[in-house]
């Protein structure tokens, strides 16, 4: 155990490139938050099953999400990874006929409780979608919208948060002169970073990312990936990705999903390195080496 802990610590250090110019970012890498190699479960998922009407989507998922870590979910399309993310911020509520069973707890809070304040939950658990969805509003307004709902209305305070989160995602210098320009006119990579900034503005503890780079070109994808690296420690990130190399580069933990009997199941979950280098299951080994999937 202690050996793997050290391995993890070492790997952690390598993820921060000392040559990289971080001055544009207020998020100092790893400044905040405990190093995630001391596994402190933040969200505990036990025997989670999800059905859409009669069709099972997820069967018997049990795993812990650790505080401050990046957890990557990998697996072929249609194996329920996105569904799993939507359970964590209760977006499943919006899908008619969707039934969720099992236990999902964050601390002592039951996330599946019918009386849970889902608005508060979604402020704590931000989500980034595969395709960037900037609202057809100005750049500034995209960020302010959720803050206004949060009853933050003071101009100076709003401006401060807008600058802060845009700086955090490395977008401030690119857009500071055109905050009132329409957000949909930004490039794809900028749109995705704006969406991340929009989520950060609510100061969430957890970020769910559903293939955040797959709709972007390689350069923009690299920029967003670097950004996700910087979020480690300060935020708990759960990322769905089809890019195995990306998962391997950025994640501390990895979960491998597969479709069994037409429902998604978790085949293996563990430290990222273990999943990629010495998987316990043959299926995992076949998938991460590219033989299946």
């Amino acid at each position: 155990m202690s050996q793997s802990l050290n391995d993890d610590l070492n790997r952690f250090d390598h993820t921060v490139d000392p040559e990289m110019d971080n001055s544009a970012y207020t998020l100092g890498p790893l400044q905040a938050g405990p190093p995630c190699c001391h596994p402190r479960p933040l969200i505990r998922v036990e025997h989670l099953s999800v059905r859409y009407g009669e069709k099972p989507a997820l069967e018997e998922i049990t795993l812990d999400i650790h505080r401050g870590c990046i957890t990557a979910l990998i697996g072929p399309s249609g194996c329920g990874k996105t569904t799993f993310l939507s359970v964590l911020n209760r977006l499943t509520d919006m899908i008619p006929g969707c039934r969720v069973a099992g236990r999902v707890r964050m601390g002592s809070t039951d996330l599946l409780h019918p009386a849970l304040d889902v608005q508060a939950l979604r402020r704590e658990v931000g989500m980034i979608f595969q395709k960037p969805v900037p609202f057809p509003l100005s750049i500034r307004r995209n960020i302010e919208l959720s803050l206004l709902e949060h009853r933050i209305t003071k101009r100076s305070e709003l401006d401060g948060i807008v600058e802060q989160v845009l700086t955090d995602v490395g977008l401030w210098n690119e857009v500071k002169d055109r905050l009132n320009a329409p957000a949909p006119a930004l490039s794809g990579g900028q749109q995705q970073r704006l969406c991340i900034a929009r989520a950060l503005a609510l100061e969430p503890g957890i970020l769910l990312m559903d293939e955040p780079c797959s709709a972007l070109d390689p350069i923009a994808s690299g920029v967003v990936e670097d950004l996700i690296q910087r979020l480690r420690g300060r935020y708990t990130v759960i990322i769905v990705t089809h890019n195995l190399a990306q998962a391997r580069r950025i994640a501390n933990y990895a979960g491998f999903f597969w479709v069994k009997e037409r429902a998604g199941t978790l085949i293996e979950f563990g430290q990222c390195r273990q999943i990629f280098e010495s998987p316990n299951q043959d299926l995992t080994a076949a998938y991460v080496s590219g033989k299946r999937g």
Binding site: R123, F135, L137, L145
Partner: protein
């Protein structure tokens, strides 16, 4: 490459007949509008020449048989009726659309939408009949005589409400699901999503509906003729009878001759120009659309 030559892209000549048919249709529609405008101008010429434009705004009153041609009271009647109707119908139409789209349970929403469609299908003379026999007496109990600006506003509001509600509903239905999910994921409430995302995203669709409704309100003749009382005057209150330009044309066309007849065409022309100005203004507004 010359892209305008369609056959460089589509070597087949199979669509040639269709192309000519479409051209013919477009030409017909455009010609008819221009012909109507020309016809209006030609028929108004005697009045414009003999009476002069200024007197339509400056004469003491509208007594065309005695050579007084001030149609401003009726123009204001048209504007008051339409504005009042829009003031009532725009918020309630949008509210109806929001209700059926996001607040009503599915079964109620479907039924509600059918009812609104039914409302859109009622002929204007039936609205007028109902207004004359039911609405006007009700208003009369509050304040005589009952046939009044208020009655016109209420009837018109009822008539244009479905247009606004149905176009707004269609526009809201077209809001991408991704926006709704994105808004929900940011912890926005239902109203936060509607006011912050859905309504701004559908602004142009809703504005189109309002424009159509405004045009219908200004052009409506029969129903307002039946409920407005048709007294040529500037109304002092909502309970005063008014006469609209459209109602005036319908009332006097049967016996008008000479300059009087031409003066009616001038009022028709004025109505059309007002409409054009409105469409133009809407175009300008939507072009200068700013992101909030």
């Amino acid at each position: 490459m010359n892209w305008s030559k369609l056959n460089t892209l589509f070597p087949s000549r199979a669509d040639q007949p269709l192309l000519w048919l479409l051209r013919l249709c477009a030409l017909t529609a455009a010609t008819v509008v221009l012909l109507i405008l020309t016809f209006l101008v030609i028929e108004s010429r005697p009045a414009l020449r003999d009476v002069g434009i200024a007197r339509f705004f400056g004469d003491r009153s509208w007594h065309p048989t005695e050579g007084e041609y001030n149609f401003m009271p009726m123009l204001s009647g048209t504007v008051y009726c339409s504005l009042g109707a829009l003031l009532l119908a725009v918020p309630s139409g949008i509210a109806a659309a929001l209700f059926s789209r996001w607040y009503a349970p599915a079964s109620v929403a479907g039924l509600f939408r059918r009812l609104i469609e039914l409302l859109a299908g009622i002929p204007s003379v039936v609205y007028g009949l109902w207004g004359l026999t039911t609405l006007a007496p009700l208003i009369g109990r509050l304040h005589a005589p009952g046939t009044s600006l208020l009655a016109g506003i209420l009837i018109l509001a009822l008539m244009i409400l479905p247009t606004i509600a149905l176009t707004a509903d269609a526009a809201l239905a077209a809001v991408p699901q991704a926006y709704l999910r994105g808004a929900a994921a940011l912890g926005l409430s239902r109203w936060g999503m509607i006011s912050g995302v859905a309504l701004p995203a559908t602004r142009s669709g809703i504005a189109t509906g309002i424009l159509l409704a405004a045009a219908r309100a200004m052009g409506e003749t029969m129903a307002v003729l039946m409920v407005c009382g048709n007294v040529v005057q500037y109304p002092d209150s909502l309970f005063d009878p008014v006469r609209t330009l459209t109602a005036n044309i319908a009332l006097e066309m049967a016996y008008a001759m000479g300059d009087h007849r031409a003066a009616l065409f001038v009022s028709g022309l004025a109505l059309m120009l007002l409409m054009l100005a409105m469409v133009g203004a809407a175009g300008l507004l939507s072009r200068g659309r700013r992101y909030a």
